[in-house]
Amino acid sequence: MYIHPDNLRRYTVGVLVDNEPGVLSRVSGLFSRRGFNIESLAVGPTQDSEVSRITIVVKGDDAHIEQLVQQLYKLICVQKVQVMQSRNAVERQLLLVKVKAGPADREGLMRLVDIFKAKVLDVTKSSMILQITGENDKISSMLSLLEDYGILELVRTGMVALERGDGVMTSDIFD
């Protein structure tokens, strides 16, 4: 499905699925064969051991996202789908990054750790592992500052999100 770049937006989609083998490949397979672009994907069990929750960040337009939600509902393993608006949701991801850190770099790095409320998980003579949690923007700006020191390795979890307020996820296919 072609979308004009001006209409591209970022959507965060929460999906409750049966906690069964193969579910992740059903969901990710749907995205790839229908031509949706996954920006990030995170999955884990919920308070109900039979249910997992997948959070997907995808770029598209409104028509695209309508199609995506309806296609997701066709998967038998999918129970509920919710498209979250950024302003109504808390979104977080976690990043671990190994940066070059000689003795001269440590002080500057520690200042960044302070500003970004990051954590130091490991220190050696020449490197540090930092943990940063936050929204996309925060993580991007931290990363661009760390580039000056030299990033050796990094790994991120992908975005997870919950809608603000008392409500819990509901499904409504008839609209």
């Binding site: 083998p21 193969g22 490949s25 059903r26 397979g29 064969r33 028509a63 309508e66 199609q67 309806q70 296609q71 509902y73 066709k74 998967l75 038998i76 129970q79 499904s171 296919i173 008839f174």
Partner: protein, 569 residues
Amino acid sequence: MKLNGAAILIECLIEQGVGTVFGFPGGAVLPIYDELYKRQDRISHILTAHEQHAGHAADGYARATGRTGVCLATSGPGATNLVTAIATAYMDSTPVVFITGNVPQSLMGTDSFQEADISGITMPITKHNYMVTRVERLADTIREAFYIARTGRPGPVLIDIPKDVQIAETEYTALSGEALIPRLSMKHPTAQLRPEGEALERYKIKAEPRLEQAAQLIAEAHRPLIYCGGGVILSGAQQALQELAERADAPVVSTLMGLGAVPATSSRMLGMLGMHGTHAANIAMQRCDLLIAVGVRFSDRALGKAETFAPGAKVLHIDIDRAEINKNVSTTLHITGDARIVLELLLSRVSQKHHEQWMQQARSMIEDYLSDELFEPRKILGGMAAISPEITIATDVGQHQMWTAQHFPFVRPRQLITSGGLGTMGFGLGAAMGAAAADEAHRPVVLVTGDGSFRMNLTELSTIAYYNIPVIVVIFNNGTLGMVRQWQTLFFGHRYSQTTLDRGPDFMKLADAYGLPGARVDNMEAFTAAYREAVERGGPCLIECMLDIDEMVAPMVAPGSPIDSFCLN
């Protein structure tokens, strides 16, 4: 009662009312075939020559009857041979349960002999699939599979059963009626779309505002047009659709999959629309001011260029699959639900309209295609219709398929069995066999095929000969892959790359080899005599019609062009 997995499978098929299974045995399904042997009083098995055609046969069985077809194959190559048949059923939304054996779980993942990850392979082409890891889950999995295959928008479901699960024993209790409906029906949102009883009352309340709006659109329309698709046949909505056409005083166009829902003989029927649609259907589409689309998915073959499709029309879309709404064409209003239920609810809100001028205008665009040729597809199909107007016709894919769709006047739902979505050459003989095997009255089924398509499935002649399945094979032999040749003629400067079939076999000798009667004809008189005899005899046979290599399918709209700009008349 304690049973092994294989026996539980057979018992569960009996629970579901399955009488016929199409399949092919092998190492990983030996325990299942052993149980079939013991229960042959309850389930008959038709052994095909190749698993693909067993799959198409189960599909044809389902298309002809509306019941769920069942196909059985072994692991590895047996399972992968089903892939085309599964994809065919998926694209045309037919309920088929495919059952495959697999290697024992102790060997799984070790690249053992005849091992293939068939549930992984078929994930994108099944409505759902299962790999059963514990025999305790087997019975409920099978019940769930049948439920999923036939409810909502129907489709194929695959169950992969490792050999150790077939051998392992567990307690089995036979279920019937309501008890067969799995827990899943409560949980999954799509399952709510074919409501009954209390759920139907809730559905009515929910759908009410949209039904009112739909009635309003119909009341305001001056040039309404009904666009009827395969969903109408799947839900049995033909009666309600015809009543709506009367009430709204609207003409009807049909997709390939919707042919037969409204009889071709009806004065409202303008024919098939799309790439090889009639002038009347395609032009009416562009002139209507309200398009009532029922059980359709706005396929590219029906639409032509999506941006220029039905430019002046509001679109009312009724479909059971919410994902089809706004997928290819933006709708003014949609109602998600079973076509029959929605149309019946809608009918009570629609008052009688009169659009004489529009009906007349639409009817006036119907053209009669006349040909000077003495022996050509239209005359052959007309001859068939004159002798057997109600006969079930299966096709393969290509020119013969389009000629059949255009020129055979289908008068009832499920009369045409054709691979519309996937366009599977080689579909026809298996599908015709399945449709014929499903008919308790043993009425013959016609397969209209081309020499190209037939070469892909002729191995199944042995099956129809052995079981004496009444399939009348009518081959349109023009010595070419005609549809591809037609595109080469029109768009590739007459460069006939790899489409000329100047290589046999001699179909009459072939018929003889299989012990089937055959006739080669090149004129209407001979054809009519051979065809009449075949229908009266009611057994399997071949009729080979010798056609001109340059015969084309007309009208035609070039791919991606507006639906009313014909490149061939």
